[in-house]
């Protein structure tokens, strides 16, 4: 019999905020020692109250907009009760009843064609700390406690492991480009709900959940293993499937049932009275929308249409700062493909000399566009433009002023070039004589003298035309 896989995902994504979700502790990812990034609030000391970090709301809304969700204007927090030493308050603050985003949709392009994956909801919550086991003791590290997360819950719309990985890669690329999350190792964690049914059936099979996986490779392996286990059970009666929570063991490539105790907890959810409901009014929503980068798919498509190569598109999509710079200069009038080359080839080359990358690029769109415009208008040569760009990137000079100071804008100034040509002819009688005697190479010497005098800013064609005219 042929079987169909049915998969739903819950994906936790750590948000790129400066501070934690309910206190001002910042920089947990850079913390060197355990409990370096901890305050009385995030370590659950009595007397401290959670205070909402607005940036978390803004990033969650941005994620919702990217995933085409409804943004709920009234959103509240709930407490989820369970005891574990890495959870200092013995409850996690999360959203159950009024999540911030609902009813979204993501379009996937896979080998099976384009598919829509429905997003059930996105909610905000705090992360837990972690336990370190060593020798006789276990140690608690609260650095990660209260780091903001969003959890993206899909409908059971995936039909293959490939679709799941495509979806996760798409989330990763979108969230990076949107400044929502760096999605570094461990900052994106998945719970996979999986069931199998005979092809054509409308009923769902018995569902199992594989918890807490962070590598896409492991997720893919776990799905393949679990799907096979389900199909074997249905086809060959190898075992009876039960609804349960399982974990994936990377070493053996297998999934194992977790203790029942961990799966049947009553979390006694209830509203958090310390956090007032958040109201997202029109003004705030419009502000968030205005700051939201264009949806990644549209953007990639726009770049592709502009003739930018796939490799360059990848570089742009994965770096929000750089793609914004390109979008800005295009808005000012630059050609997109040409602009991409200026940034990804020229600026990157200048930075590479000093061992830097595009992440270190400091240039305003206005200055970059000023350089490009001078070249496009024919005021200066492309080589002169590159020279100016070096000074702009390395010293932050004003390109137009710098161009004048350095005398680089003389390219088409015929009278200035003519004076130089006259001077070259007057100062190099031997070359003039040689040329007149048929030595074509002598012209090169005169041309070189002119270029030297013009510091490379003269248009070669203009110089050549003038020289030839004068020597006839």
């Amino acid at each position: 019999m042929n079987y169909e896989l049915v998969i739903g995902l819950e994906t936790h994504v750590e948000l790129s905020t400066e501070s934690k979700i309910f206190c001002s502790c910042g920089g947990h990812s850079a913390a060197k020692e355990p409990n370096d990034c901890v305050c009385p609030a995030c370590s659950g000391m009595p007397g401290m109250l959670p205070v909402m970090n607005k940036h978390v709301v803004e990033l969650a809304v941005t994620a919702g907009l990217m995933l085409n969700c409804d943004i709920n204007r009234y959103t509240t927090f709930d407490k989820k009760n369970y005891y574990y030493p890495d959870l200092p308050c013995a409850y996690q603050i999360t959203q159950l009843n009024h999540p911030i985003c609902t009813n979204g949709c993501v379009n996937l392009k896979t080998s099976a064609g384009a598919r829509d994956i429905r997003i059930k909801q996105i909610h905000m919550e705090e992360d837990a700390g972690k336990l370190v086991h060593g020798g006789k003791y276990s140690y608690v590290d609260f650095n990660r406690t209260s780091v903001p997360l969003i959890e993206i819950v899909t409908q059971p719309d995936f039909r293959s492991a490939e679709e799941v990985v495509t979806y996760l890669n798409k989330l990763k690329s979108m969230f990076r480009s949107g400044g929502i999350s760096e999605c570094e190792e461990g900052a994106m964690r998945c719970d996979v709900n999986i069931s199998v049914r005979p092809e054509g059936s409308e009923e769902f099979g018995v569902r199992t959940e594989i918890k807490n996986m962070s590598s896409f490779e492991a997720i893919e392996k776990a799905i393949r293993y679990e799907a096979q286990r389900h199909m074997d059970a249905l086809e060959f009666d190898t075992e009876e499937l039960v609804q349960e929570t399982r974990r994936f063991d990377d070493a053996s490539g297998k999934t194992f049932a977790m203790r029942n105790k961990e799966t049947e907890a009553d979390y006694r959810y209830f509203p958090d009275a310390n956090l007032m409901p958040i109201i997202i009014d029109d003004e705030w929503l419009e502000k968030i929308k205005a700051n939201k980068p264009a949806a990644v798919d549209e953007k990639a498509e726009d770049y592709r249409l502009a003739g930018i190569s796939d490799k360059e598109i990848d570089m742009l999509i994965s770096n929000n700062k750089i793609s914004k710079l390109l979008d800005d200069i295009v808005a000012m009038g630059a050609n997109a493909k040409d602009g991409a080359a200026w940034i990804l080839t020229d600026c990157a080359g200048i930075l590479r000399k000093d061992g830097k990358t595009l992440n270190d690029l400091v240039i305003t769109a206005e200055k970059l566009y000023a350089v490009i415009k001078m070249v496009d208008n024919g005021d200066i040569s492309r080589n002169a433009g590159k020279k100016i760009l070096i000074a702009v990137v390395e010293q932050g000079v004003d390109p137009v002023t710098y161009c004048k100071e350095q005398g680089l804008d003389k390219k088409f100034d015929v009278s200035a070039i003519e004076a130089v040509v006259d001077k070259a002819i007057a100062e190099n009688p031997q070359s003039v004589e040689d040329f007149k005697n048929g030595k074509v190479k002598a012209l090169q010497a005169l041309f070189g003298a002119c270029m030297k005098e013009l510091k490379g800013a003269g248009d070669p064609a203009v110089i050549k035309t003038l020289l030839e005219a004068k020597l006839k």
Partner: protein, 392 residues
């Protein structure tokens, strides 16, 4: 008896042990928090210190403020009766004022028993930052003083917005000044009067006469929702308390059992040893009303009841300026067994719980209680001031 858990030097404001003072051990009356020294002071303490007030010391409270008066931390008088430590300090004149957390009416009862005043302000007007929190949705720091003027003085200092408390209202300050009371209307709730003994009734009628003499209309009405409010608040209060004190688990600070073989035993043994019987009863009750099977019928229903009572009380207050009720069912409490505490506190909270549930201000004065609409503290203090002056 010693009123202080920790005595400090030279101050004249007492602070109950539920409110943090930097570097001074704070236990909220619980063995579970033994040795916990806070790294910061509560906002109310900081505000008072900024105005030059000094803390006289930390007074005893009952574990997490769940008992009748705070007597479990304080002890029994030689005559076998009970008192609250902070209220008694104010009554004897040892301090000018005291701060306490009103979560389930204990300070209002203690004030009534000791014959001093206590104001539980409107929810959100005083910062809860630095309060060992139990029932977040209805607890407020309030003030004990000998009279309304004493409360006025301290409230002016401690009330106002605090960005460290997400439930703090945005107003920077509030008006507590006295105002004319002639022509005001006060309702006496018949159902609550019936729950009080003769001596308490006498106090209430003296208070009412005092008001009448100042031109206030006092009339008896029927308003049965105090009892409903009490049930709803006990459900919300126990659930929130159960949740908020779940962080005292023996892992991070405070008491940890000596004997345990694994993490579950560490939790169970530490908490079994660390909490008293009343707290355990509250934890059991609170866990139950939050459980999957009971949530809708208990917790969720209580949230709806809170909204309805809030509306009904507002309707009542369209015709009256304040409600006059007993604060306690009798004028003295005798010592009792802790196994009876849960029921006793529940019965006595019928007078006080409505103000915690819907966040209105409530003032214990002259052995009775005035409850008003939100932000009507100034009027409540004026009424109490007027009634007392006439009584003398």
């Amino acid at each position: 008896m010693n009123h202080y858990k920790t005595k400090m030097n030279g101050g004249n404001i007492a602070v109950d042990d539920t409110i943090l003072v930097k570097n001074i051990e704070a236990c909220a009356g619980s063995k579970m928090l033994t040795g916990f020294k806070p790294l910061f002071s509560a906002e109310v303490v900081t505000q008072l210190e900024a105005k030059g007030y000094k803390t006289a010391g930390k007074t005893h409270v009952g574990e997490f403020g769940l008992d009748l008066l705070g007597e479990f931390g304080f002890g029994v008088e030689t005559d076998g009766t009970l008192k609250g430590a902070a209220a008694d300090l104010v009554a004897t004149g040892e301090v000018n004022a005291a701060l306490a957390v009103d979560m389930n009416g204990a300070p209002r009862r203690a004030a009534a028993i000791s014959g001093v005043d206590f104001l539980k302000p409107t929810y959100g007007t005083v910062s809860r930052y630095g309060v060992i929190s139990c029932a977040a949705s209805g607890e407020q720091v309030g003030v004990y003083a000998k009279d309304a003027a004493g409360i006025q003085e301290i409230m002016t200092v401690i009330a106002g917005h605090d960005e460290k408390d997400g439930t703090s209202l945005k107003n920077e300050s509030y008006d507590y000044s006295f105002q004319p009371v002639a022509g005001k209307k006060v309702a006496v709730v018949k159902e609550l009067l019936e729950k009080a003994d003769e001596e308490t009734k006498k106090r209430l009628s003296t208070f009412a006469d005092g008001l009448r003499a100042k031109g206030v209309t006092v009339e008896e009405i029927s308003f049965s929702l105090f009892e409903t409010a009490n049930v709803a608040w006990q459900i919300l209060m126990t659930a929130e308390t159960c949740n908020n004190i779940s962080r005292y688990d023996g892992v991070k600070f405070g008491h940890r059992a000596k004997e345990y073989r694994n993490i579950d035993e560490l939790y169970v043994n530490s908490r079994t040893e660390g909490f008293n019987f009343l707290t355990k009863a509250v934890i059991m009750y609170g866990s139950d009303v939050l459980s999957k099977n009971r949530y809708e019928a208990c917790y969720d229903k209580s949230l709806k009841v809170r909204r309805v009572i809030s509306e009904k009380f507002e309707e009542l207050m369209a015709n009256y300026d304040a409600v006059l009720t007993p604060a306690t069912s009798k004028t003295t409490y005798e010592a009792y067994d802790i196994h009876d505490a849960f029921k006793k506190v529940f019965e006595e909270s019928v007078f006080t719980a409505l103000a915690n549930l819907i966040g209105t201000p409530a003032l214990a004065s002259g052995g009775v209680q005035l409850v008003g609409k939100h932000f009507s503290e100034g009027l409540l203090l004026s009424l109490a001031d007027a009634a007392k002056k006439e009584g003398k």
